[in-house]
Symmetry: C2
Subunit: 142 residues, 2 copies
Amino acid sequence: MSLVSSLLQQAKDSGLRRTKALEALFTCLTTCDRPMTLNEFTTCNHLASQCDKATVFRLLQKLCDKGMVRRLGLHERAAYFTLILPDQHRDYLICTECGSIEPINAPCPVHKLQEEIRKETGFTNLYHELEFFGHCPKCSKS
Amino acid sequence: MSLVSSLLQQAKDSGLRRTKALEALFTCLTTCDRPMTLNEFTTCNHLASQCDKATVFRLLQKLCDKGMVRRLGLHERAAYFTLILPDQHRDYLICTECGSIEPINAPCPVHKLQEEIRKETGFTNLYHELEFFGHCPKCSKS
DNA sequence: GCTTTTTGTGCAATTTTTTTGCATTAAAAG
DNA sequence: CTTTTAATGCAAAAAAATTGCACAAAAAGC
Ligand SMILES: [Mn+2]
Ligand SMILES: [Mn+2]
Ligand SMILES: [Zn+2]
Ligand SMILES: [Zn+2]
């Protein structure tokens, strides 16, 4: 069973319908596999001419609600969206000059603090977003 | 010498002029002392009727360039801005239901990783943004 | 002080991004 | 197949970010 199929199943289980647009969006999310803006999604070949921007917007919104997609604020004017895969947690390294976005391989160092926060504050559904910003070697030179 | 005065001096040293608008903005940034959106700034008593929104926008932009203000993407549609004080590093805890934003007191656990990233990637001007999101106790109940 | 030069400001307009209304279509349920 | 309910396209609106330009204010030079 392909990843897209299992995502469609997971979506269905949480109340969404199996539509052409959703399948195309999952294909895009899994094959492009990087945070993208709404505009990038709608102009990506996987989605272009498959469905309208408003549809992509509403699907991303629903998938965020279901916890299948994460919305990231990466210092660009537009919001970024990325698939949440089980056993995958990603922090990012972003060049504020050229805009490159790279996931970080090293293990995330904040889970312990997150647990402390959960206990001390009583917050539920806790998660975090960690991004490093700077100038990449290429942009540092020029 | 007040904090506002020293900020004005610091701004002047890096090329900005000492204007009424800048002083009002620094007063706002220091007394309100929390991340705020452009709209919040312009409607705050410290700035309202003191200057135009475009002016605040351009000042915040310049202060970001000078490294005196930080732009935060806190999952709202609008960007947040907050003063960078020396010896002050803040991570945030945000309720995605009611929108409350609280700085975290615990020491930040990512500096070590940041150093590793600097060495391994060659990034310069490195900094990070760490936010925890969840439902606060109040919002968890309802 | 006064004059020149440079930067900042207000206001309106524009651009970009996000969001919604509504008539229609497609999916799921019966 | 029929009914019910959710999803979609299209266009329009709302919200946020950004800019152009004439004028005002600050700093620099005298
Ligand atoms: Mn992390
Ligand atoms: Mn931190
Ligand atoms: Zn770069
Ligand atoms: Zn709350």
